[in-house]
């Protein structure tokens, strides 16, 4: 069982739910940017939620199927065709050997997930099939897929066509997209004026937005509380003695453009961080395009935990709706 890549798209990679446990050595967890959409795609085709699939950004690939299998595509809104015939996203369908899946122009969102019954069966690296291109680790030969690649698919069984995730369970960012954040880490480095401005200002997603991190621009430059720079920190007021970063943490090099680290994050460095986007909203970042308006919303820990529970409940509802 195989997938033959006719056109790769922009940066299409094999992803699963990641390889936690190696970030302390600089190897990020990786895995799907929008994990809710990713899990839903697997559930639609009867896979384990963590089975490996394809993640494409902004532009879909063109794929020829080597065998009969169930397929589902979730995430961003992108018209999709099987042998030129339109097919619905968030819905299971069956493909025959030789049929070709292709995509139209992106309408909304950023990342799509393509799940096939049986899951992609490339060799796992450190317990995961996720692609970490910088480290040439995992995925298909450690890199994004290319035209001509023939990707192995595991043994699965074909499920019913037309299984669908109800619209209410497809999570999308609003306009502006609201990203909730808990302050902390090096929050105290900012003046009160800049602390307030970060949440009041209107931001947009910058062109430099990828699996490592999303950059934002449009807000005011930040001001720092005066201090002699600590030994080893470096001379810029936005510098700290290099420490660990975390998924979702918000760094602002030079006080200019905030960067929210995502699944392929660098694990540490010398820029101050003002807090972190809550775990429940990480999926939403994966569906932001450049120039999308964004507001950061300050929340306390209890709200972060309530949002986390709400997201978990939503995934459980998807499971139930497809059970």
């Amino acid at each position: 069982m195989t997938l033959e890549i006719i056109k790769p798209g922009l940066a299409t990679t094999i992803q699963d739910l990641g390889r936690p446990g190696y970030f302390h050595l600089g190897i990020p967890e990786g895995g799907a940017m929008d994990r809710l959409a990713f899990r839903a795609a697997n559930l639609l085709v009867g896979n384990d939620e963590g089975a490996a699939g394809l993640e494409a950004v902004f532009m879909g690939p063109e794929i020829k199927f080597g065998a009969e299998m169930s397929v589902a595509v979730t995430g961003a809104e992108m018209p999709m065709f099987l042998d030129g015939e339109p097919r619905d996203t968030w819905t299971s369908f069956t493909v025959k050997p030789g049929q070709v899946l292709s995509f139209g122009f992106l309408k909304a969102g950023a990342h799509i997930y393509i799940a096939v019954s049986g899951g992609i069966d490339t060799p796992p690296a450190l317990g995961s099939r996720s692609t970490y291109p910088i480290g040439a680790l995992g995925g298909f030969e450690g890199r994004a897929i290319a035209a001509g690649d023939v990707i192995p698919v595991g043994v699965g069984s074909v499920v019913a066509e037309g299984r669908v995730v109800p619209d209410a369970l497809r999570r999308r960012p609003g306009t502006p997209a609201v990203l909730r954040a808990v302050t902390g880490l090096y929050w105290h480095r900012l003046t009160e004026k800049s602390q307030k401005a970060f949440f009041d200002d209107d931001w947009v997603v910058a062109p430099e937005a990828d699996r490592m991190g999303y950059r934002f621009r449009g807000g005011q430059p930040m001001e720092f509380v005066d201090r002699p720079q600590p030994f080893g920190a470096g001379s810029d007021p936005s510098n700290i003695v290099d420490g660990c970063y975390s998924y979702g943490s918000i760094q602002v090099p030079g006080g200019l453009e905030p960067i929210v680290l995502h699944r392929d994050a660098v694990s540490g460095g010398g820029y101050f961080t003002l807090g972190a986007v809550i775990s429940a909203d990480m999926d939403l970042i994966g569906q932001l395009q450049p120039n999308t308006p964004v507001k950061f919303k300050r929340v306390e820990m209890d709200e972060a935990l309530a949002a986390r529970a709400q997201r978990k409940a939503m995934i459980e509802d998807i499971r139930q709706s497809l059970a």
């Binding site: 302390h24 050595l25 600089g26 910088i134 480290g135 902390g184 080893g232 290099d242 420490g243 660990c244």
Partner: protein
């Protein structure tokens, strides 16, 4: 020490032992993070030690963030009085200083540098008060360095020079980070040295290049068969200057799987080091003679 605890979103707790770098802060961070690891607290998913801080990742569905933070704080006093010693290893890392590859790269990104008219080494030598690049290189490699953190990208070591603070080399990072750095570049930013484990973006000043692979996802390199990442926090590094001929020879040996890094088991004792840095370092480096 001015230990500070903070949440990093709902899945991380960040513990900053001190806002400035010191080996004392490193050892407390290491002890405290080890204690948290050994306590096997349900819900802890990863512990990440850094230079003068560390981070705990946890699952808030298993342990509430405030309970997690309280658990870590319980160990603080014990970690501060813990003996600051470590059984570790000293490794000789060959470096080809002033190599053609980092030179080509630094020329390509000159407009992002503080001093577009010279090289990174000339700039670093001047601002650290050395008359010549050669004297600066000598100061860079004559005393050992301590791996105080592994990360940024896969397997990249941050190194801290084992000399008095007033003798430590310090350089700013590039004004704007480069989009390219050759794999295995040896450089420094702030007070930290590093070896770029993979090719990619970077902001550290570039001084040379090592022929030693330190990250191998395929685990084909002879000394990376057990694990793909070479460095661990606490490792001690002695740079060994080499020329082009030796660089090419070692590169070939690494590729053919016949290269064995020179490594010796040593004990690092912070008090003993602080009492007599030169003498302690001499002993560390002597251990390599038998390796």
């Amino acid at each position: 020490m001015k230990t500070r605890y903070s949440y990093g979103g709902d899945e991380h707790i960040y513990v900053e032992i001190d806002d400035e770098m010191s080996l004392d802060a490193f050892f407390i961070a290491l002890s405290l993070s080890n204690m948290v690891r050994e306590a096997n607290i349900p819900g802890v998913t990863e512990i990440l030690p850094a230079n003068a801080s560390f981070e705990v990742r946890f699952d808030p569905d298993v342990i509430a963030p405030d309970a997690m933070m309280a658990k870590i704080k319980e160990f603080e006093h014990r970690a501060e009085v813990q003996e600051k010693r470590l059984d570790t290893r000293i490794i000789e890392i060959p470096v080809y200083f002033q190599d053609p590859w980092t030179h080509e790269t630094l020329m390509r990104f000159r407009e992002r540098h503080q001093d577009p008219s010279g090289s990174d080494l000339e700039y670093a030598a001047r601002i650290n008060g050395y008359d010549t690049v050669e004297a600066f290189i000598e100061a860079f490699h004559s005393q050992p360095w301590f791996v105080s953190m592994v990360g940024f990208v896969a397997g990249l070591p941050f190194l801290y020079q084992l000399v008095d603070r007033d003798k430590q080399i310090e350089v700013p990072k590039y004004l704007r980070p480069r989009t390219d750095t050759p794999r295995h570049t040896v450089g420094i930013g702030g007070c930290f040295g590093c070896i770029y484990s993979v090719r990619g973006a970077g902001g550290y000043q570039m001084f040379g290049i090592t022929p030693m692979t330190i990250f191998d996802p395929d685990q084909k390199v002879s000394y990376l068969k057990d694990f793909m990442v070479f460095f661990r926090p606490g490792d001690i590094v002695k740079w060994k200057p080499i020329g082009r001929e030796e660089f090419d020879a070692i590169t070939k040996e690494v590729e053919e799987g016949t290269y064995t890094p020179r490594i010796a088991e040593v004990e690092f004792d912070l008090d003993a080091f602080n009492n007599d840095m030169t003498g302690f370092n001499a002993k560390l480096m002597e251990a390599l003679n038998d390796a």
